[in-house]
């Protein structure tokens, strides 16, 4: 690649060469496509205010990504606070909301971490890769906490079982979940497959990962220690999922570059497997100071979050990032969602050992920058990024990572709710005689939502790692954590969009209660909750009301049961036109078993014994 000396007469123009801080300062009036990037007028004004000038193209790309709903939680933040505020005190919680995933101590020296995340939209566009990279993403979240990923679960929702879109999406999603998880060697221990026409254009592909770590191996993302080296490890960076940022190219470059449209992320589970082994070896040898996975917002998110978490600054040489395509622009490199990458903060005297470990596992690792001190006046440091000698980014990292916009969006109970609630089950005809009852039972067990799930779950490896004590079709998956003591955990994920549509507050509580019961019946003690909140557009006051009610219900339910929400994910904009999906809070509960040999499976234990099993009904 040739580096042009900056001698062009119009070096200040963003149209020609990279848009630099210098150019941005000199050309305040250049119109910028911020609206196309999803930023509002007032948001753009605030960026200019923060920077004291217009943002460069790269900076604009970064703000548009970090201030998006997906990254900033701008519509949900004010509600999600309840999870912390109402949570019972817990001395088990080693890391909670705000980290990549919550970490819960389960013995003197062992901890587990778990989290559920959505990959809904990508899975509709490209079912196999969307689902595969959904699994890959949540696994990296778990890995970033210092844990070895040990199991996955996949709550899935599709449109009507006989709809042609379902026929297109479902096989790909299931193959993708299996293809990625199986190749990583992670047993799949449960999930959901739900059909409802409301998910026709918006299938829900949520993925949960469980990880285990020695409590003292907990990692964090802070880029502490000026002088430490910033290392990018894993796959090369390509034009994956660049999304809206491509408008920067099309808006300011000629038509020749129009074909640089965003592209679907393709997962490479083999590289991820190597990344896992390399990271675990680095943790055990105490070679990293901080670590962060690269997810939806790529380098932008990892650089700003690690720096902001430590209050430090960072100096990055962007041309050092290994690229799959040499022609990538700085803003594309910063926005790329290429999979299977991690950002490490490494002390200079450990760099060689880190690179050696990466090499042993055959993964690329490249020093791309260094941590710089906070400013002498106590203010946090700045993130300074150059590209072939041009300064393309100079921002306070916290302004991207922590201080994004926060909205209290208008909420209104949906006008049809009263009608829906009035249509009560008691008014439905009931089977009146044994034949009708028999027919109803047969219809139910043959229905797509209740029938056997083996056709899905047999595409998943449940045995790998040799610690799967219970998996499908049990109520909970149970994983042995400690082979010596038998210590283990039980996990269940549940949700019911129809209940939540009728009453989002109760629907969220029901999902929690169901998941809690599923864990409890195995004999485990429930101790922690994760959740994935799948909703329509937050700009619709009806949806926003559903969201607020669901969060309130889940937070209240957790307070009543005495277990904390330790993490989760919000997925908005699941809607086709103006029609949103049913509000679908998916709740995961984790419980502990002191000895997994004591677990209670759901089948009768002595079906062929002459005395059989006695059957009791507990509750009302």
């Amino acid at each position: 690649m040739t580096t042009q000396p900056d001698v062009r007469p119009d070096a200040a123009s963003p149209v020609d060469g990279p848009d630099t801080v210098e150019a941005a300062t000199g050309t305040p009036e250049v119109p910028q496509p911020y609206a196309e990037l999803g930023l509002r007028d007032d948001e753009y004004d605030r960026i200019r205010q923060i920077l004291g000038r217009r943002p460069t193209q790269s900076e604009l790309a970064m703000y548009s990504i970090m201030w998006s709903e997906h990254c900033s939680y701008k519509s949900s933040k004010v509600h999600l606070r309840q999870f912390s505020e109402k949570a019972p005190p817990s001395d088990r919680l080693l890391a909670g909301i705000g980290e990549n995933a919550g970490v819960i101590r389960i013995s003197d020296n062992l901890a587990v971490t778990f989290k559920v995340e959505s990959h809904n939209h990508p899975s509709f566009v490209e079912p196999y890769q969307g689902a595969a990279t959904g699994v890959g993403g949540i696994v990296r979240d778990i890995l970033a906490m210092g844990a070895r990923p040990v199991a996955v679960m996949d709550p899935l929702r599709f449109g009507a079982a006989d709809h042609e879109d379902t026929a297109r999406v479902l096989p790909g999603v299931v193959a993708g979940v299996g293809g990625y998880g199986n190749s990583l060697g992670l047993p799949n221990i449960g999930g959901e497959v739900v059909f409802d026409p409301c998910y026709q254009g918006n299938p829900l592909v949520n993925a949960l990962c469980l990880g285990v770590l020695p409590a003292d191996r907990l990692q964090n993302k802070a880029a502490a220690g000026a002088g430490n080296i910033v290392v990018l490890m894993g796959a090369k960076t390509g034009r994956d999922g660049i999304g809206g940022v491509s408008v920067l190219a099309s808006a300011t470059f000629d038509a020749g570059s129009a074909k640089r449209r965003p592209s679907v992320q393709v997962g490479d589970p083999f590289t991820e497997k190597l990344l896992i082994e390399a990271c675990l070896e680095l943790y055990d040898a105490q070679l990293v100071v901080g670590i962060q996975d690269l997810g939806g917002a790529g380098l932008t998110c990892a650089l700003t979050e690690t720096a902001a978490a430590a209050g430090t600054g960072m100096r990055v040489w962007l041309e050092r990032v290994p690229l799959r395509e040499q022609s990538m622009e700085p803003q594309e490199i910063l926005a790329s969602e290429s999979q299977e990458r991690m950002l490490l903060i490494v002390a200079p005297d450990r760099l060689e050992a880190v690179l050696k470990t990466a090499d042993k596992w055959g993964v690329l690792a490249t020093a791309i920058g260094e941590v710089t001190p906070a400013s002498p006046d106590g203010q946090p440091g700045r993130l300074l990024i150059t590209w072939n000698g041009h300064t393309v980014v100079d921002v306070p990292p916290g302004s991207l990572a922590d201080d994004g916009p926060v909205y209290a969006r208008p909420m209104r109970e949906p006008s049809d709710l009263i009608l829906i609630q009035a249509d009560r089950a008691e008014t439905l005809p009931r089977p009146a005689n044994p034949d009708a009852l028999r027919e109803t039972v047969l219809r139910m067990i043959a229905s797509p939502n209740l029938c056997d799930r083996t056709w899905v779950t047999e595409q998943y490896d449940r045995y790998v790692l040799g610690n799967t004590v219970l998996a499908q079709p049990e109520d909970s998956g149970v994983i042995r954590i400690d082979e010596q003591s038998g210590l283990g955990v039980a996990l269940s994920v549940d949700g019911n969009g129809r209940y939540a549509r009728l009453d989002p507050y109760q629907g969220a509580r029901l999902a929690l209660a169901e998941s809690y019961r599923n864990v409890a019946v195995t004999g485990a003690r429930p101790i922690a909750v994760t959740n994935c909140l799948n909703f329509g557009s937050p700009e619709d006051p009806g949806v926003m009301w559903q969201f607020a009610e669901a969060v309130r219900g889940l937070a209240d339910g957790c307070a009543e049961l005495g277990i904390p929400v330790t993490g989760g994910n919000v997925s908005f904009y699941n809607q086709t036109g103006s029609v949103a999906i049913h509000p679908t809070p998916v709740v995961g509960v984790l419980g502990v078993l002191d000895d997994v040999a004591q677990r209670v499976p759901m089948g009768f234990s002595r079906p062929t014994h002459p005395d059989g099993d006695a059957i009791f009904l507990l509750g009302e």
Binding site: S183, L184, F270, G362, E458, Y460, Y463, V464, G466, V469
Partner: protein, 227 residues
């Protein structure tokens, strides 16, 4: 002296820990071998475990075959070293031409994981001598490319010389020709098996304890072998 059984880790191996556990539970000592290290560290036998070596991109086992450790294993196997390839290990043994035939995409095109009944056809190998001929066992299968194929002549020869080690019973999970689940070489020291005995070694985590037989067999074989 406890027998030392090597378990190879390739990049992308997944069931290596499980294979090592199975060796231990059977009473042997598991020795971890690394793909890039040609030194077999004096092991008495080798297990090539399941997984997706090198991502199983291109063809399963195609790239693993060229790992430095495989050169040593191929040479030692020719000299009689017992080698068991499970799933991906079986694929690697075929790609390395230590076993005849090839493993191709499951006929139904899906990855399939289920508990599977097998019939042991040949107890006359280093890895199956504790089973009875015709004994039926239950162990997991899990593969996407487990369909065994070879030309008719090879298949006939395998049958005629007692080299079909195990067959699927009660349903063929992947379309393997003649329901073949495992085969051996002419000497009986190299065995390839598609299903996973290492996942049937503990009552808590497997469908049976039948898988242990493969690992007790190798220990028995080694105990009887001249030092």
């Amino acid at each position: 002296m406890t027998a030392r059984v090597g378990v190879v880790t390739f990049p992308g191996s997944l069931d290596d820990g499980d294979a090592a556990r199975a060796v231990r539970l059977a009473g042997g000592e598991a020795v971890r071998l690394w793909h890039a290290d040609p030194d077999l560290h004096g092991v008495d036998a080798v297990v090539l475990p399941g997984g997706f070596s090198y991502g199983d991109y291109l063809r399963c086992g195609a790239i693993a075959r060229f790992a430095p450790v495989m050169e040593s294993i191929a040479a030692a196997a020719a000299g009689g070293l017992p080698v068991l390839g499970i799933c991906n290990g079986f694929q690697i043994l075929c790609e390395a031409h230590l076993l005849p035939g090839a493993l191709t995409r499951n006929q139904h095109l899906h990855f399939r994981n289920r508990d599977q009944v097998l019939r042991i056809e040949s107890p006359a190998t280093a890895w199956t001598n504790t089973f009875a001929a015709g004994q039926e066992i239950l162990i997991p299968v899990k593969n996407g490319e487990g369909c065994y194929v070879a030309d008719e002549r090879t298949l006939d020869e395998l049958e005629a010389t007692g080299r079909v080690v195990a067959r699927y019973v009660g349903g063929n999970p992947n379309g393997s020709l003649r329901d073949i689940a495992g085969i051996t070489n002419a000497a009986g020291n190299v065995v390839g098996l598609m299903p996973h005995p290492e996942h049937a070694v503990e009552a808590l985590t497997g469908p049976s304890l039948d898988g242990l037989g493969f690992f007790t067999s190798i220990l028995k074989h080694l105990a009887g072998a001249p030092a």
